[in-house]
């Protein structure tokens, strides 16, 4: 049976990253939990993903279509030695949901994710400032049309409602004042797709479009610009609480959907309080907040209390099977798989982002999840599956059906399953008797049994949980 330390380490790596290979997991567990958390929240200690190979095979990454870049992002989720960097980028992509479908300008959406990767663990103030200067966001919420005398309130409203404070913590006047503060925050017109392909855009501040009149925002009065509004927002208790709840929902346990937060209390108010405290203790530094989160008891006790997002499921299966470790021609299939499961990366459905938890699951998406995982686990030659078979074989003596099941659950997760699932898996394991991978005559059949067991496990209800 897996040690609790190993299971806890696996939990951490599923949440702070996208899972681990068994070898990685054992090495991480040997280091100690707190040290591992320090490595995770300090990703700059580790080398970046080598993009030259990705560019060689998938093309110039600044110029590819969104779905190709999404495929490359999945590769990074699987292979990055900085898993929390990728996970924070995905987190902010959930929170600051910006869809490429409106602009049809992938370079801007790509740039936005790269920004989230770069600043995702810095202060919320810096993150919101980058967000407000991000051409993809500026266009997504029409701030390019927000001018002195003719304000467009879209960005100001969502900045408060969905990106920082949440409904009920500001007034309609605050929305209008925020909008006025961001007048003139726009982007330079990029060259068009035709005739020679996409070109990136960049933030531009147009003084002539900025409303420099006096504004009163959340009780502060003055000639406020966007920077001032962000400073005020970042200092609000409501902001700390709102971001803490997002973090809890994404990293700890499923919460109701965001629109319900103004009426539904948090699942664990004390956990939210702890994260809020960490926020203010650190001046809003996400690195510090994440350190507190991962070291907390509420996090350690939250195993399998979240339904994996499609990106987590796809990348996690690849961690298990060893697929996608070098560019291959199936990359787009992987990106398409998350889309079929309800998460097209770079293209969340609305500014509210993807609905999470049980809303990931319906008859169609569950089918896609199970088919993908089972399909990936059916190849005995895939490195991860082969490693499991070899490991079972090295254990020497034939394994009883119960031992066979327990070892497989251990090597897949370690994964904890409910009684009903366990009974069904055990019935399957028992049908073949003891498993002996070292008897030549039984090796092929034994490998087949391991494959089927792995497929059944990844098809289980429990495997859908992180």
């Amino acid at each position: 049976m897996a040690s609790d330390n190993l299971a806890l380490t696996a939990h951490l790596m599923r949440r702070a990253g996208f899972g681990s290979t068994r070898g990685e997991l054992e090495a991480h567990a040997a280091r100690g939990y707190a040290d591992l958390v320090e490595d995770l929240v300090n990703p700059e200690r580790f080398p970046e993903v080598e993009e030259d190979v990705l560019e060689r095979y998938y093309g110039w990454l600044e110029g590819v279509q969104g779905q190709v870049w999404a495929a490359v992002w999945i590769y990074r989720m699987v292979n990055s030695q900085r898993p929390l960097e990728e996970k924070m980028a995905l987190f902010w992509h959930h929170v600051f949901a910006t869809g490429v479908s409106k602009s049809d300008h992938p370079p801007s959406s790509i740039q936005q994710i790269k920004t989230f990767r770069r600043v995702g663990l810095s202060s919320l103030r810096e993150i919101l400032l980058e967000l407000s200067r991000d051409p993809a966001m500026v266009f997504w919420l029409d701030n390019n049309e927000n001018r002195k005398g003719a304000p467009n309130e879209n960005y100001g409203r969502e900045l408060l409602e969905l990106f920082s404070m949440g409904v009920g913590n500001y007034s309609e006047t605050d929305v209008k004042m925020a909008a006025r503060a961001f007048t003139g925050w726009t982007f330079a017109q990029p060259l068009g797709l035709y005739p020679y392909g996409f070109y990136p855009s960049r933030f531009v501040y147009r003084e002539e479009d900025h409303d420099d009149g006096v504004k009163t925002f959340l009780g502060s009065e003055g000639n406020l610009n966007g920077h001032d509004v962000i400073d005020i927002i970042a200092g609000q208790p409501a902001t700390a609480r709102f971001i803490a709840r997002h973090l809890y929902n994404f990293f700890v346990a499923d919460e109701p959907q965001v629109p319900a937060w103004s009426v539904a209390p948090p699942r664990d108010p004390e956990a939210i309080d702890a994260l809020v405290q960490a926020y203010f203790d650190s001046g809003g530094e996400m690195r510090s907040v994440m350190r507190v989160l991962f070291n907390s008891d509420f996090f350690k006790e939250s195993r399998f209390k979240r339904i994996k997002s499609p990106a987590e499921l796809v990348a996690g299966v690849m961690k298990l099977t060893g697929a996608n470790r070098f560019p291959d021609t199936r990359a787009l299939d992987y990106a398409d798989a998350t889309a079929a499961m309800g998460q097209q990366l770079l293209n969340p459905p609305t500014v509210e982002g993807w609905h999470t938890g049980m809303e990931w699951i319906d008859g169609g998406t569950l089918n896609e999840r199970v088919n993908f995982a089972v399909g990936q686990a059916q190849d005995a030659a895939s490195p991860g599956v082969k490693a499991i078979i070899d490991r079972l074989a090295r254990e020497g003596a034939p394994l009883s059906p119960k031992e066979f099941l327990d070892r497989c659950l251990d090597l897949v997760g370690p994964l904890t399953v409910g009684e009903e699932t366990r009974d069904a898996l055990l019935r399957h394991a028992s049908a073949g008797g003891d498993l002996d991978l070292n008897a030549d005559a039984q090796r092929e059949a034994g490998e087949g049994r391991v494959l089927r067991m792995l497929q059944l496990i990844v098809a289980s209800r429990e495997y859908q949980f992180a």
Binding site: G59, E62, L191, Y196, G197
Partner: protein, 338 residues
């Protein structure tokens, strides 16, 4: 005609741009100059692969090939070369094979199988003919060069994985000069290596970086009749030119103007005209991630401008010198230049 003793390099002016996104060219990775100057432009991305055919005057002659794994299809094509009859050979690093097409694009055959043994391929990348029309193949993931007959018969190999002389790290482009020597763009070692046709190491040049004679993942290499070596310095978004000894001469960053097809397209689209009018156009002239460079006997240099869906064309302007026209070589630089 042999190599000149030396050259007076008058210049290497930009001539024109041909092609545009999708209408004529889509992510061009390489090109071959066929009969009567037809440009066979090899296009590749994750959503399509084909060979587009253009005249040097930017007239669209159609295309052949499609994304797939069947005969005549292309999955991850890398390099295209034309033989003396105008037949075209295309390497495919996903399918581990070389496909042969007629000048009109009819599929004629294929060879190659996946593996690491003699004559087997693992991600074949650059290909080049020698004077007998045998084919050198940069066998990228086997980190070696292999020589085949035109029909795929194994003849020779050299190289192994590493950074020493004669070793490779994912080699990409390969070229053969008129003397039969072989140049290899040693992609992940950021250098060019030169060998005899039999694989004996002669010299190397280049190192990692973005300065003169420095490379960031050089993909393409070609040699002209004067022995000048052209390198598509992909990661630095440029082409570098070296003389036959590997001495740096000059670089090309891109000078694109609107091609004939691009001009016609833009004039037919008022909104695109307006958006372009609002934008700064400086950067549109520059190369983006060029993966190949080709030259012809008239001194034209063709750069498939991968990230910009076009081909930029330059022309070399030199006076070829006899030994009696130029002073003897100097051992040291001199300030006595007046």
């Amino acid at each position: 005609m042999g190599r000149p003793y030396a050259m007076l390099r008058a210049g290497f002016p930009y001539v024109k741009t041909v092609g545009m996104r999708r209408m004529t060219v889509n992510f061009p990775v390489d090109l071959a100059i066929g009969k009567e100057g037809v440009l066979h432009i090899l296009c590749r991305n994750e959503e399509g692969a084909m060979v587009r055919r253009l005249t040097g005057e930017d007239e669209d002659l159609g295309s052949f090939g499609s994304l797939g794994v069947g005969d005549g299809q292309l999955r991850w094509p890398v390099s295209i070369i034309a033989d003396r009859e105008g037949n075209l050979f295309v390497s495919d690093e996903a399918l581990h094979r070389i496909s042969k097409f007629s000048p009109q694009g009819e599929f004629l055959g294929k060879w190659g199988s996946h593996g690491a043994g003699d004559g087997e391929l693992n991600a074949p990348s650059g290909i080049a003919f020698d004077k007998d029309e045998n084919i050198y193949v940069a066998d990228a993931l086997n980190h070696r060069i292999q020589l085949f007959t035109k029909d795929g018969g194994f003849l020779a190999k050299w190289g192994s994985h590493g950074a020493g002389d004669g070793q490779f790290n994912m080699p990409w482009g390969v070229a053969v000069d008129e003397l039969g020597d072989v140049y290899v763009a040693d992609w992940r070692n950021d250098r060019i290596q030169k060998f005899t046709g039999g694989g004996r190491f002669i010299f190397k040049f280049g190192r990692s970086g973005s300065g003169e004679s420095e490379f960031h993942r050089p993909a393409g290499v070609t040699v002209d009749r004067d022995g000048d070596v052209y390198v598509a310095d992909t990661g630095n978004n440029r082409v570098q030119l070296f003389n036959h000894e590997g001495r740096y001469v000059q670089k090309f960053l891109g000078d694109a103007t609107l091609s004939k097809s691009a001009r016609a397209y833009m004039l037919a689209n008022p909104m695109f005209l307006r958006l372009r009018d609002m934008a700064v156009i400086d950067e549109q002239k520059l190369f983006r991630s060029p993966r190949s460079v080709r030259v012809d006997d008239q001194g034209f240099m063709y750069v498939p401008d991968y990230g910009s869906f076009r081909v930029q064309i330059y022309r070399k302007d030199v006076e070829r010198l006899r030994e009696d026209q130029i002073a003897a070589p100097l051992r040291s630089p001199s300030l006595l230049t007046a």
